[in-house]
């Protein structure tokens, strides 16, 4: 398939996040939500109305939020702990390490409005380091869904699978992708959205639609690239990366720092087991203020930016 979309328009995945949790909570009374004064920004107003005693708002207190989540899991609940990703993952990192990952509790951390969704608010509110610091923690499954379907499937998987999860939920509108009938979401499995043999683009989250568009642009000029949706950063689909390396060139694209995230994870595999040309697209460090679109454009995280990176990588490979 190419960058074809199922429904015209772009959608905020927080809506489907909230709808899915509500639907799951209807069937499973163990499901509770824990928030840090983030009922509105997590779109959980409806959940709160339907299940008032299952929405635990600890106030603006991220360390308590994560610890309380771990305690709720100890008490048999399945807590979806939801707050702005920048604060959830940075302020409460030690709680995520000790109470969730190390204790190995059944806590579902939901990093809302991740990446540069709060572009204009500056680096304090950007969450472009979360893959990096969470990827170091054993036991923690890390998923960055790319569209509404995948968001819903990832939440269902998190609810069904015992153990700690981090779901990175964007508020930047994304299109729906067309998937083959009967497509299933599997934790730890890469999704090949388009086959191709000249190079491979590995992307996740909001970058997947841009990667598909880049592939269309490249195909028009005779370059046939594979597009891999690597929603699952941990566990990582190492085989899909090795197979992508056989094309000779990989470009990764993520709404994250160029250090420690998806590109870093791919680089660890490439450097140690399947050397090939690798280009990591992401953000260089603390960013200036600007809208999300402005920041993506500025750092080449657009369809044409990805396509240009693929061409440059192929040229460098040819020249070498």
């Amino acid at each position: 398939m190419s960058g074809e979309t199922k429904v015209a328009g772009h959608f905020d995945c927080r809506e489907v996040f909230a709808k899915t949790i509500e639907a799951l909570a209807e069937q499973d009374e163990r499901i509770v939500a824990v928030v840090n004064d983030s009922v509105g920004s997590s779109k959980l107003v409806g959940f709160q109305k339907r299940f008032p005693n299952r929405l635990i708002n600890v106030g603006i207190a991220e360390q308590a939020m994560v610890g309380v989540g771990a305690g709720l899991a100890n008490g048999g609940k399945v807590p979806f702990v939801s707050g702005a990703s920048c604060f959830l993952t940075a302020r409460a990192l030690e709680q995520i390490k000790a109470d969730v990952a190390y204790t190995n509790t059944n806590v579902k951390l939901c990093g809302m409005s991740s990446g540069i969704a709060y572009g204009e608010l500056g680096p304090t509110h950007h969450s472009i380091e979360d893959f990096g610091w969470l990827r170091l923690l054993p036991n923690l499954t890390i998923i960055a869904p790319s569209d509404r379907w995948e968001t819903e499937e990832a939440i269902k998987a998190a609810a069904a699978i015992e153990g700690p999860f981090f779901l990175r939920i964007s508020r930047m509108p994304v299109p729906d992708f067309v998937r083959p009938a009967g497509a299933v979401f599997r934790v730890g499995a890469a999704e090949i959205l388009k086959q191709g043999h000249n190079a491979a683009i590995i992307a996740n989250g909001v970058m997947v639609s841009r990667a598909l568009e880049a592939a269309d642009q490249l195909l028009a000029s005779g370059v046939d690239v594979r597009v891999i949706n690597m929603a699952s950063i941990a566990p990582l689909d190492v085989e899909a990366i090795r197979s992508a390396a056989e094309t000779g060139a990989i470009v990764t694209a993520e709404e994250h720092s160029v250090r420690g995230g998806l590109g870093g994870a791919v680089a660890e595999v490439v450097a140690t087991s399947c050397p090939c040309r690798l280009r990591i697209l992401g953000f260089p460090g603390f960013l200036p203020t600007g809208s999300p679109e402005f920041l993506l454009e500025r750092h080449g995280l657009t369809a044409s930016g990805i396509a240009a990176a693929v061409r440059e990588t192929l040229e460098a490979r040819k020249a070498a």
Binding site: R54, G67, E94, A98
Partner: protein, 238 residues
């Protein structure tokens, strides 16, 4: 050693626990927030029957499941992995909320060190516990007055500590933390008669029972030599 009498009272007079079924959903929960006191915790758990007493000899030995700080995945009876300070109270509050939602009758006990109360996460959780009126929650402060480097009151003073907990919406009882009868009577008082979470300020002494260790900052994390060890055992045995 300041916490030993509190643990003994809880495990042998209060907590509803079955060592043969350590994950029983209806069990009372005990959380040791001051995770550096595993010496006392493991001895208590072994005595209670969670694992053989002989295993205590492996404490902190290579590959022992008795890690220097408690790990629930290795040691039955441990509820949550602690070690970094300020983690136990939020977790205890979460378990207490789960019990409140389910109208379960289990109770949640958490022991914190006094120096540990300098961590802000405790007070985040204390706010929520007070706000939600978690009557199934009892927090015990091991108020020995010492932290690693100095007295708490010479470091970042905690007093008036009882007033702080009251201001956060808790009931407070002060007690001699080495008086088993007094502790027992507080811990076994019916919690359904309370309207707030309970903070027990247990006044304790580090190195209780050993004259040369008692209340000495230098023994916060001291290791006795053979002669000191034998003298200590002799004094405790008296």
């Amino acid at each position: 050693m300041s916490v030993a009498d509190i643990l003994a009272t809880l495990y042998f007079g209060v907590l509803r626990l079955d060592p043969a079924n350590p994950n029983d959903p209806k069990r009372d929960r005990f959380i040791l927030s001051k995770g550096h006191c595993t010496g006392a915790l493991y001895a208590t758990l072994a005595e209670k029957g969670f694992f053989p007493v002989e295993q205590l000899d492996t404490y902190m030995q290579p590959l022992s499941r008795l890690n220097g700080h408690p790990n629930r995945n290795y040691t039955p009876g441990v509820e949550t992995n602690t070690g970094p300070l300020g983690h136990g109270v939020p977790v205890a509050v979460g378990v207490a909320i789960a019990g409140q939602i389910d109208s379960s009758d289990y109770r949640v006990f958490v022991v914190v060190g006094d120096g540990e109360l300098q961590e802000g996460s405790n007070w985040e959780a204390a706010l929520t516990a007070g706000h939600r009126k978690l009557t199934n929650l009892t927090l015990i402060v091991d108020r020995n007055g010492l932290q690693q480097g100095a007295r708490t009151e010479d470091t970042a003073a905690l007093e008036p500590l009882a007033d702080k907990w009251r201001a956060f919406g808790w009931d407070v009882i002060e007690v001699d933390g080495h008086d088993h009868d007094a502790l027992l009577s507080i811990f076994t008082a019916p919690s359904n008669e309370r309207t707030k979470p309970l903070c027990v300020l247990a006044r304790t002494h580090k190195g209780q029972g050993v004259s040369f260790m008692r209340d000495q900052v230098s023994w916060h994390h001291g290791v006795p030599n053979q002669a000191q060890y034998e003298l200590a055992l002799q004094e405790i045995g008296q």
